[in-house]
Structures are given as C-alpha cells and as structure tokens.
C-alpha cells in the first residue's frame, strides 16, 4: 500500500498547477447558470484553452492517476468544470473512439477535443429511467436514413448541443436489450423540439426532447444495428474511479468554509453541530481515500466494482453536507440567494441521477455480494 506519486506524476501536477496559476486569472467571469448560450461559449472556451495547452486528451488517454491529479488540481484551483463538454468528452467521444469507424472518429472526435461541438445524451425516456432498456423511441429504416419518432428526457445541454448520442429501438420484436441502436443525431435536423425543464432548484438544467419523424443518416450509426446496448455499456464505466474526484475535492473545501462560518456566527460552540462537522470530515476524507483506492485498482487492471459503493456513500454525504450547512446558516439557509441553499437543493438529485440509490444497492447486492436476482 502506497500513497505516493511517481516523479512523472509529481511533475505533471507541478506543470499543471503552474499553468492554472497563469491562465485562470485571465478567464472572463462565469456566466449565469440560466444563460445556456453563454455557458456553452464559456465551457467551450475553456476546453479550447486546455486543448492549446495540451491537456485536452487527459480524459481519453492519460492513466487513471494522471486524470485524478488533473481533476484534483483543476478543482483546487477553482478552474471551470467540464460543463457543456461533459457528454462529448466523457461519454459520446470515448464511445466513438472505441466503437466508431475510422471516418466517424475523424469527423466527430477532433471537434470535441478542440471545444467546437457540444454533445447531449438521448438515453432516458419518460418511461425508461432506471430501466433504461425499456426505451421506446422508434427508428425505422427508409433508404439511407433512419426515421426516428419518440421522446427523450433529462437531456442536459440539449438547447445548445450540436449532436445527440441517441439510443433508439430498431427491433421491437427482439428481447429488450437486443433491439437497440446507437445513433449520432444532428440537433438541427427537422422534427426536433427541445423543451427546457425547470428543476426544483429553479434552474433549467435539462430538457425534454421530442422527435417527430427525424431523419438520421444510416452512416451516423455507431456499431451494428440492434447492437446499441453493448456499444453503450462499453463506455458507461469509462470514468472508473474518477467520476466524482472534483466534487469530493469541492465538498472538502465547502466543509472547511462551513466550519469557518460556524466559528464566525457562534454555532461552532454547539458541540452537537461541531461534531457533525467532524464526522463529515471523516466521511469526505474516507471518500477521497476510496477514490484513490479505486483509481489504483483501475491502474492495476483489476476489474473495478467500486463505483456503486462510492456513489451510494458519496450522494448521501453530499446531502448531509448541505443539510449541515443549513444548520450552520440558521434562518439564512432559507434564502435562495445563498449559494449553499442552491447547492442543498441540487444535492437532492445525487441519489437519483445515474442510477438511483435503490438501483445501486441492487447492483451492489447482486453483482458484488452475489445475492439472487429478485424483485
């Protein structure tokens, strides 16, 4: 067991730190969360800077440890998040890299890396959330096109996306996992309607997408027809171990800020609250160690099963963190203009998004502990 980094990794960290120190002060102010076009421009601008400095590839071909360092350092320095580039960089891009043709890779990958095109994810549907394979959006073949009708939901960045990685049902007669196909859909195609969804935090974070006889060239299919489920699964675990690195670093910073606030407003003298902050410190430190453990495991090529374990505990810890923030703030915690209040509201999604905690517990019980499938 070793927690030290190699000289090359240390050097990468030092170079990155120096670069961040130089470029971050030159960034324009962050746009308002509801101004999607501005957010797109801001996020792509940051990706372009990463590209020019040679960091654009870090999510794709760096070792898990180097990615860990990248995410840790960018968060510590307060750099922008991957933002609108999320689906392209962390999901659609790796999927195309792994399963696409030479031509497809040449068409779609460079613009993702250079921060020129935004992707969104057309997976979930109103009746296919946790049971993703129950999706019903239908594609029928018509000459060189697929003609697609149906609807998608929870689609982040849909309003400003250029492309959508779309899962459609091409064979309704096949077993539900086998009749699905992966398509790249241009978001300016006729027949697409995007309707933003307002979250309980008041912001428009994602959208519903309605598809009415949308024509998508067969050439935009990645992988074989009806093989889209496998294509998708190849990359769903792409971020093994590193999916929440930046967020854990951010939570640890917030916890320190909370302790500082409590000292200022006198709540620190309440031993019950103070000890809750101490316990949160233990949890977030442990989650950081678990991240390091999972990254080391990924590095050594051991099949990782830890992501469900991590997500279950992290989503819970994040909610506890912001509930505790509310107790530190007292009545001010009801003020939506306080950032911790908005964070508290958005933390409610963590036990739902990307597999609810209940689904994650089933995964842990069945795939890790080997308990029988049931209902």
């Amino acid at each position: 067991m070793d927690l030290t980094y190699t000289p090359e990794e240390d050097e990468f960290r030092a170079r990155l730190r120096e670069w961040l120190g130089k470029v971050l002060p030159t960034l324009p102010p962050k746009p308002s969360p509801d101004d999607w076009p501005a957010r797109r421009a801001y996020d792509l601008g940051w990706q372009r800077m990463l590209y020019d400095a040679g960091y654009a590839h870090v999510h794709w071909d760096a070792s898990p440890t180097v990615r860990l360092i990248f995410l840790e350092e960018t968060e510590k320095a307060g750099a922008p998040y991957v933002g609108a580039g999320f689906v392209g960089l962390l999901h659609a891009g790796p999927t195309i890299a792994a399963e696409g043709s030479e031509e497809q890779r040449a068409r779609w990958l460079p613009p993702i890396l250079r921060g020129e095109e935004v992707w969104c994810q057309g997976f979930s549907e109103p009746d296919a959330g946790s049971d993703l394979a129950a999706l019903r959006t239908r594609a029928r073949r018509d000459g060189d096109d697929y003609v697609v009708s149906g609807s998608k939901i929870w689609t982040s960045h849909a309003e400003v996306a250029d492309w959508c990685e779309l899962l459609v049902r091409t064979n309704p007669a096949a077993p539900k996992h086998r009749g699905i196909t992966w398509l790249a859909m241009p978001m300016d195609a006729p027949g697409i309607t995007v309707r933003p969804l307002r979250t309980l935090a008041g912001s428009a974070e994602f959208a519903e997408v309605f598809l009415d006889e949308v024509r998508i060239p067969v050439a935009n299919r990645v992988g074989d027809e009806d093989d889209g489920w496998r294509v998708t699964m190849v990359t769903l675990s792409f971020e093994r171990g590193t999916a929440f690195v930046g967020e854990v670093v951010a939570c640890r910073r917030v916890l320190r800020e909370l302790a500082g606030e409590a000292r200022k407003n006198g709540r620190w003298d309440d031993p019950v609250l103070r000890r809750r902050l101490g316990r949160l410190n233990a949890q977030l430190r442990a989650l950081w160690r678990l991240t390091q453990w999972n990254v080391s495991e990924a590095e050594s090529g051991v099949p990782g099963v830890g992501s469900s374990v991590f997500k279950l505990r992290y989503s819970q810890a994040r909610q506890e963190l912001y509930d505790t923030a509310a107790d530190v703030l007292g009545p001010d915690s009801l003020d939506v203009d306080r950032p911790w209040t908005l964070d508290r509201l958005s933390s409610l999604s963590y036990t739902i998004a990307a597999g609810t905690s209940q689904i994650q517990q089933n995964i842990v019980a069945e795939r890790i502990l080997g308990l029988p499938k049931g209902r």
Partner: protein
C-alpha cells in the same frame, strides 16, 4: 500511487487467516464462550507467528514490518473474534519482557477507564489500583473499570482497534450474505428480496468506505486520518453487526447464533479510547486548523 495490497501483504493476511482458522475456528470460539479463559497455547502460537513482534525491528528480534501490515493482521483477528488483550500486548512488545513472543500477557488501562482481561494478565500497564470488575456484555472480554482513566491514548491503539472493527464489519457482511442466500421464505431465498438486499448492500458500503480509511491511515499514520478511520470502522462494525442480526431474524436473537458475539465485541471496542466523541472533536479541530 499504488494504493493496493502488495503480494507480500496479501500473503501476510492469508497467513494470519489460515493460522486463525487452524487455531481458533468456530468450535474453539464456542468452547471459549462456554469457558472464558485466555488460551496460553494460542497466545504463544500468535507470538511464534510474529503477531506481537510484527512492528519490532529485526535487530530486536522482531519482524520489522509497519503499521499497514499490523492493520491487516488485526483485521484478521477482528474477523475471527480472537479474544485477549491483543493490542496491549502488541504495543508492549519490545518493552515488556516476553510480550513479543507471546510468553507474557499484557493488559493496559485504556484511556476510557476500562481494562480488558485484567485477571489473566501477567503485566498491567497503567494504574489499575482499585479496579472494579464489570459483568461484561461480551462473554469473551472480561472487563474492569478504573475510575476515569485519563491517560492519553496511543494513536496506534486507536488505529488497531479500527482494524479489528473493520474485520468484524467484513465478517458480519459475509455471514449476512451467506444466510440471505440459503434461508428460504415465501418460496425463495430471502436475499432475493430488495429489503434484505439493501441491508446487505449497506453493510458492504460501510465496510468498504471504512477499509479505504483504515488502510490509508495505516500508510500515513496521521492523527486525523486515524480518527476518521476509527469513526467509520466503529460505525461499520456496530451497524453491520446489528444489520447482520436483523437479516438472521429470530435465529439472530439466540445465544446459539454467532451474531451476538460480533455485536457485543464491536460494542466493547467502540468504547475504547479514541472513540467517537474524541474522534469527532479532533476532526472538527482539523477543519479550522
């Protein structure tokens, strides 16, 4: 960064597990519960295997290993519910004659004011004058109370307690899963029911988070890391044992089942010095340091 067990560490862990399976199996555990006394033969066998001298330098006749290896050994001791003042004797190796090779049983007055195995000890560290016996909740840990205790707690003792708790957390998860796979109700194994699955998943999650914390604290030997490890390991052991009992249903509430022994030991360990209030305060202080 290679935050994984090395080949040697795996071999050490497996060796301790095999030794304990040979010398302290379920039958021996049952016999010990019925006649609680310290098994001197077993103590010497542990000594011969290097359990107590693990961290003593080779020049002093020790094994010359570090905290990570000690943590792996104590995790196995925790899994097996191995009785005796293991930590006190381990910490006394190199200072108290005979402790390193298991000839001497060393007990210690804990910072919490409790002494485990006072009656069986050859040497007692700390002032145990006026110690009053308790009728211990754990049939395999005789306890005495000595006022308020008070001595500062060795961080290594806190960490090794966390390691034992981690062993319990892993073991009770296994016991619960074994039971859930085999016990049938309503025509199927109870492990097919989500309510039972989720109890088991919760046990694993707590154990694995604690494991990362305990192993990291063994590598860094940092006070704050150790406090975090202890908090999470206590939680994983105590809640894990309770949930294991719940999964076992009525059988879990009987003396015959092994589950109560795990829960009671976890309770005893959770009261040792460096327990939750102290750890939480230390971790809170770290936030404003």
């Amino acid at each position: 960064m290679k935050f994984q067990l090395t080949q040697d560490q795996r071999a050490l862990r497996d060796g301790v597990r095999q030794l304990l399976a040979r010398r302290f199996d379920a039958e021996a555990l049952r016999a010990a519960v019925n006649a609680p006394a310290l098994d001197r033969g077993l103590w010497r066998a542990l000594g011969e295997a290097g359990f107590f001298a693990l961290r003593l330098p080779e020049a002093d006749g020790g094994v010359g290993l570090g905290l990570p290896e000690a943590v792996l050994a104590f995790e196995e001791a925790g899994r097996a519910l191995l009785p005796g003042p293991l930590i006190a004797t381990h910490l006394a190796a190199g200072e108290a004659a005979g402790a390193a090779d298991g000839e001497t049983v060393v007990a210690a007055v804990d910072g919490s004011g409790l002494v485990e195995w006072l009656g069986e000890a050859d040497i007692v560290r700390g002032d145990a004058a006026g110690a009053v016996p308790l009728r211990s909740v754990d049939p395999l840990t005789p306890l005495h109370r000595v006022g308020e205790g008070g001595a500062a707690v060795d961080p290594a003792a806190v960490l090794l307690t966390a390691a034992e708790q981690l062993g319990t957390a892993g073991r009770v998860c296994e016991l619960a899963v074994q039971h859930a796979r085999t016990r049938e109700q309503f025509g199927q194994p109870i492990g097919a029911f989500q309510a039972v699955k989720h109890l088991c998943a919760g046990m694993l999650v707590r154990a694995e988070v604690a494991r990362a914390a305990v192993y990291a604290a063994a590598v860094t030997a940092d006070r704050t890391d150790i406090a975090a490890a202890r908090l999470l390991a206590d939680e994983a052991a105590v809640r894990g044992a309770r949930d294991c009992l719940q999964v076992h249903g009525g059988m879990g509430f009987t003396w015959e089942s092994e589950v109560h022994l795990h829960l009671k030991r976890a309770w005893v360990r959770a009261r040792r010095g460096g327990a939750s209030t102290e750890s939480e305060e230390l971790l809170a202080a770290d936030l404003v340091a």
